[in-house]
């Protein structure tokens, strides 16, 4: 649980920043004394200040253009570039797999690929495009642009951001490796059970692919927490949620959906990995294992559709405004529609299951919600269209792409209504109609994101791409796209994921194959254009686009390390960059509007004073500005890669015999050491992230970044446990609720454990009280008691499990034991993670930490209480009922 430890150590990072003399640090950190404070609304933003060069030195960040910089960087812009480049690599990877499929489909029947290889191509193409390309591509932009748009210097937790990237990169590499371990996963991107179990997909590579996805989801979770904290807490003054630029709005909603949807997928993948590695029997459970997977997967899967599409919508909204020179028509309704969709996206998943055994009432309900969710999109489409009225529309490459994307999305939307009619859905299920529809929607989204790439390319690189080549790219792309996907509507009777089709459909499939190659070739143009322009392109200037409004265009291209020449503020109605002293004035002056009000209603300045007191035992002498480099995220990524590669060899609760087994076991050991060691390194590292005061922090005004992060993480953990408990209830209902006997015969150990945990929650509170009173002994004693109680909990559980094992009740015995061991085991893992943190804190407490600043104890307490509360649900469910 890498995420568990994180918030703590970033807090220590913050502490260190705060140790030094506040005032001097801040003045040094912002290079604005000289040129700061000019409140302008025109080209004068562009202060080619010394900020860039000034910040390059110090902070241990190698200069731009060196490879080493990208290995250690934690700066959001660098990470954004890494995301974009890596995602484009996966676009090529997934694209080549798609071309292989299209070649196979040139004629009906077996061709280029064997049946198994074709299924792998289908499955991994889907997985790569949905997971490893689309979202990371969008999040490259989000990383780069969102902090600029909201006026933040970086994300709230820069190292976690780098960690997200490296976990993503590691997971992608793992997926690539899976092809060389027998075969990669071949059960479709939906991974329906029980085809996803070793019984049907026994290759080691299948396990690796699933573990890769698991790692990807962990990366997403880390990223979600980071983005939500940043976007809620660190907006410029005056930039209330309602005023957020649309791209940022779409990302905000995307991340909220991600937080909850991916938690459900995380649960599904954890259970699946456990089924594959440990031999639990969730998805092989006959009476409902298959359906359970479908529910879990689609509960994630439908929000996922919007997760990948929303950023594209944001790019469309931004570019439509810029290139038509009009503000968005019905902006607030546009935003309201998106909020509605984001909420409703969690209530439509069963429309993917209309042909399963769900009953008519449920079908009707989900038909209604499905139609309901399509209407807000109508509004958004009309809003974009009407924005063109009275515009001054310039058909440059970015707009061509987003305009084209809207056309494609309209086609995708209309064909989606066909699927919403259940009677038609019955026939379209599993055919190319579905394939064509979702490619129009999703690749329509990609089209908009490509527009975004051209739109922000000058900002990111400082160079202008070649406009003519860009237009040619668009022409080839648009023709190729329609040539590829439109024939699929005409050939819709072809079954999905089948390389055999009635010969009458051959012409359409050949047309599609030609289109696929045109589409693929168009990207070669793009890669050439964007690469060549890097060296030969004209200087783009700060703002190459007329009528652009958002803050990223007010700073140089590329923006300096710390983004702004001063503190961005919208107090006057448009952006100004204020100097530090002006900012302080605002701080006390505007405290009444709630901007930086904290607990006691203390205004910002004095709040800062208390904020910055703590952390005495590790005073740093270099407290100037933020850090932008850390090697540990990369190290953790490498560790996770090795660890999971090793774990892939594990099957049915053991490693295979012989060399392979030793190899995999060795890898697992090395990986575990690497990961653990680098996590520890990350915790020990001195790192200064961005610190307040921030302009707008609604609705987390009084809650600092780390605490916000912990809360958000716990929210996703609630969904994770919810999914586990839901799975248990689902299985138990399918099996017969009443006839189900709890696995432990004796609830007594569970009861004892309940009291142990409750007491330990209490002792954490005591530790906090002691810290507030400044009693070192009290802190140490209470933390020690907490740890002792936690260890007691684990020992008691260990003895209980040992007895059950002796009775022959193993994880793999039956679905009752599987649910019991896995769900309570997940809880035990949370306890262990908590204990690791607590032990770390205890060692620090013995050296006098937390006396001045008890907040880390409070954060730990939040987590610990949560773990405690979960147990209060698990105990009755698994021991008594």
């Amino acid at each position: 649980m890498t995420t568990d430890g994180q918030p703590m150590n970033d807090s220590t990072g913050d502490d260190e920043a705060k140790t030094t003399d506040d005032g001097s640090r801040r003045t040094d950190g912002r290079h604005t004394k000289a040129d700061g404070g000019h409140a302008t609304t025109d080209s004068e933003f562009a202060t080619p200040s010394g900020a860039g060069t000034d910040t390059e030195d110090g902070h241990g960040l190698p200069p731009l253009g060196s490879v080493r910089r990208y290995l250690v960087t934690t700066n959001h812009k660098d990470v954004g570039v890494l995301y974009i480049v890596t995602a484009l690599f996966f676009l090529i990877f997934g694209g080549v797999l798609a071309l292989l499929m299209r070649l196979q489909l040139w004629t009906a029947g077996q061709g280029l690929l064997s049946a198994g290889a074709y299924n792998q191509a289908v499955s991994i193409h889907g997985l790569i495009m949905v997971f490893w390309f689309l979202s990371p591509f969008a999040f490259g932009f989000a990383n780069y642009i969102v902090p600029l748009q909201i006026g933040a210097k970086d994300l709230a937790f820069p190292r976690l951001n780098a960690l997200s990237y490296w976990l993503y990169a590691a997971s992608g590499l793992l997926l690539g490796v899976s092809f060389f371990q027998g075969a990669s996963f071949a059960g479709g991107w939906t991974m329906y059970a029980p085809l996803d179990l070793p019984m049907y997909t026994p290759e080691v590579g299948s396990t690796t692919a699933i573990l890769a996805l698991l790692l990807f989801v962990v990366s997403i979770t880390v990223s979600s927490v980071n983005f939500l904290t940043t976007m809620h807490r660190m907006r410029a003054e005056g930039l209330t949620l309602r005023r957020l630029p649309l791209f940022t709005w779409t990302i905000l909603l995307t991340v909220w959906m991600m937080l909850f949807a991916f938690a459900a997928l995380l649960a599904a993948l954890m259970i699946l990995s456990s089924d594959r590695l440990l031999g639990t029997t969730y998805f092989s459970f006959t009476e409902g294992g298959s359906l359970l997977w479908a529910h879990l997967f689609w509960f994630f899967g439908h929000p996922e559709v919007y997760i990948v599409f929303f950023p594209a919508l944001g790019v469309m909204a931004e570019t439509f405004q810029t290139f038509t020179g009009r503000r968005l028509v019905g902006r607030k309704w546009f935003i309201a529609s998106m909020v509605l969709v984001a909420l409703q996206s969690f209530g439509v998943w069963m429309h993917h299951m209309f042909l399963t055994s769900i009953n008519l009432q449920v079908k009707t309900l989900f038909m209604a919600t499905t139609i309901g969710i399509s209407l807000p999109f109508d509004l958004m489409v009309f809003s974009l269209i009407y924005t063109m009225i009275k515009g001054r529309i310039r058909f440059v490459t970015p707009f061509l792409f987003t305009f084209g994307a809207l056309v494609l999305f309209i086609v995708g939307g209309i064909t989606g209504v066909f699927l919403g009619a259940v009677v038609l859905d019955y026939e379209f299920r599993g055919t190319y109609w579905v394939v064509a529809h979702f490619h129009y929607v999703m690749v329509g989204g990609v089209t908009a994101l490509i527009g975004g790439l051209y739109y922000w390319y000058p900002k990111i690189t400082g160079k202008m791409y070649d406009e003519f080549l860009g237009k040619v790219h668009f022409a080839a792309y648009f023709v190729g796209f329609n040539l590829l996907y439109f024939p699929m509507f005409l050939a819709w009777e072809t079954p999905r994921r089948v390389f055999d089709y009635p010969p009458g459909l051959t012409p359409w499939h050949q047309l599609a194959t030609i289109g696929a190659f045109v589409l693929g070739a168009s990207f070669l143009l793009m890669f050439y254009n964007l690469t060549a322009s890097l060296f030969t392109g004209e200087e783009a200037g700060d703002n190459p686009w007329a009528y652009s409004t958002t803050a990223e265009w007010t700073v140089p291209s590329p923006p300096p390390l710390e983004n702004f020449p001063g503190i961005p503020s919208y107090r006057s109605g448009s952006i100004d960059f204020l100097a530090e002293d002006e900012r302080s004035a605002i701080g006390s002056g505007t405290a009444a509007d709630g901007g930086e009000l904290t607990d006691g209603g203390v205004a910002t300045v004095s709040d800062q004073a208390t904020d910055h007191a703590p952390g005495h035992e590790r005073i740093t002498d270099e407290g100037e500005g933020e850090d932008h480099a850390s090697i540990w995220p990369l190290a953790i990524g490498v560790g996770a890669f090795v660890l999971l590669l090793g774990a892939s060899g594990f099957q049915g609760a053991s490693f295979p015999d012989g060399f392979a087994g030793t190899f995999y076991a060795g890898l697992t050991g090395i990986g575990a050491l690497l990961t653990g060691g680098s996590l520890f390194g990350l915790t020990r590292e001195r790192f200064t992230g961005p610190s307040g005061p921030f302009g707008e922090s609604w609705p987390f005004d009084g809650i600092e970044n780390v605490k916000t992060g912990v809360w958000i993480f716990l929210a996703s953990d609630v969904v994770l446990f919810g999914a586990f408990i839901g799975s248990y209830v689902f299985i138990r209902v399918a099996q017969g609720w009443v006839g189900w006997e709890p696995v432990p015969h004796d609830p007594l150990p569970g009861l004892v454990n309940t009291y142990l945990l409750l007491t330990s929650s209490f002792s954490v509170v005591l530790a906090m009280v002691a810290a507030e009173k400044g009693s070192k002994r009290g802190v140490v004693a209470s933390l020690g008691l907490t740890i002792a109680l936690g260890i007691g909990f684990l020992l008691n559980k260990g003895i209980e499990w040992q007895e059950l094992f002796h009775e022959g009740l193993l994880l793999s015995t039956n679905v009752r034991t599987s649910t019991f061991f896995l769900t309570t085991g997940l809880h035990a893992l949370h306890v262990i993670a908590g204990l690791v943190i607590a032990i770390y804190m205890l060692t620090r407490a013995t050296r006098g930490a937390y006396l001045e600043d008890e907040r880390p104890i409070e954060y730990f307490g939040l987590y610990w209480h949560f773990v405690d509360i979960v147990w209060l649900f698990l105990f009755p469910l698994f021991y008594i009922l």
Binding site: A115, G188, R326, T356, F382, F395, V423, R497
Partner: protein
């Protein structure tokens, strides 16, 4: 391309009462699909056409504000309040026309769906009184289909049904998730291990058709087909009377191709990694495909 031309045949719509489509699955699908296709195309053309019109009308023809090639657009451009860099994002009104458009599209979509909902109730309903129906259990496995008739007779890879009668299917799977579909009769149902799903169809013509698997189920998925033989009711009665509670392979008469298919499928059963088998099964699949298209041509 008979598969395509067969779709929009509004002239062949059967007589019916009310506006809710009823009839065989094929007729129902044909009518609804036709209406959706026409309306969808219409809406698509109108919306995209309007988009392109706006894009042309308000294109930026030249550099200056008053450059008049855009006509109206150019002139308006001068009065229009253009966004400026660094401003706080705001919208530009226009709520009313937005909601008018939304209301229009909502009416179209909701009425269409409500209209098909009547048909859904009909499709999901029990057979009407006096209508004969014939129940068959379908079981999918890697990679083939097994059919069990009411008298306990089972066949593998070949489903024989009487023409004109409603056939009720109860579908399940023995191993992984499959989906049983007969494209010609527009019937489809998930085959989920441990679950049963139900669907029905009426074959209006005699001949040999193909059933296929519509859910990725493993290496043999592409070739996981079955033959559906629709017989004259009398011929079917005769055939059915001769079956007993045995497997189809034993009954023999005229089942040579069937037996071939079975042999391939039999080897695959229970063998999860059937890559090699799949290639074998595949050629059978192609042969069947060929047969179907000759039939429909």
């Amino acid at each position: 391309m008979s598969w395509f031309t067969q779709l929009p045949e509004p002239t062949s719509l059967p007589v019916q009462n009310g506006i809710v489509p009823r009839g065989t699955m094929v007729e129902v699908f044909r009518q609804i699909y036709f209406v959706f296709l026409v309306l969808g195309t219409l809406v698509g053309i109108v919306v995209i056409g309007y988009m392109c019109y706006l894009a042309y009308q308000y294109r930026d023809a030249g550099r200056g504000d008053a450059d008049g090639e855009g006509g109206e657009g150019g002139e308006d451009g001068e009065e229009v309040d253009r966004p400026t860099l660094g401003e706080l994002p705001t919208g530009s009104g226009g709520g009313r026309k937005l909601f008018t458009s939304l209301a229009l599209s909502a009416i179209i979509v909701i009425s269409l769906i409500a209209w098909t909902y009547g048909t859904l109730l009909f499709v999901e309903g029990a057979p009407s009184q006096g209508e004969e129906d014939f129940e068959v259990d379908v079981t999918g496995y890697q990679f083939g289909w097994e059919f069990e008739y009411p008298n306990g007779h089972t066949t593998d890879g070949v489903l024989r049904v009487p023409q004109g009668e409603r056939i009720d299917l109860t579908v399940t799977s023995r191993d992984v998730w499959h989906n049983f579909g007969i494209p010609r009769f527009k019937v489809k149902s998930d085959a989920i291990p441990g679950q049963t799903t139900e669907s029905w169809f009426t074959a209006s013509e005699t001949g040999t058709f193909q059933a296929a698997c519509y859910e990725l189920c493993g290496a043999g998925h592409s070739a996981m087909n079955a033959e559906v033989i629709v017989m004259e009711p009398t011929a079917f009665e005769q055939w059915y009377a001769n079956t007993s509670n045995t497997s189809a392979n034993a009954t023999g008469s005229g089942n040579a191709t069937e037996a071939g298919a079975n042999a391939t499928n039999a080897t695959t059963t229970g063998a999860p990694n059937g890559t090699t088998n799949a290639t074998g099964g595949n050629s059978t699949g192609n042969a069947l495909l060929g047969a179907t298209t000759t039939r429909s041509a």
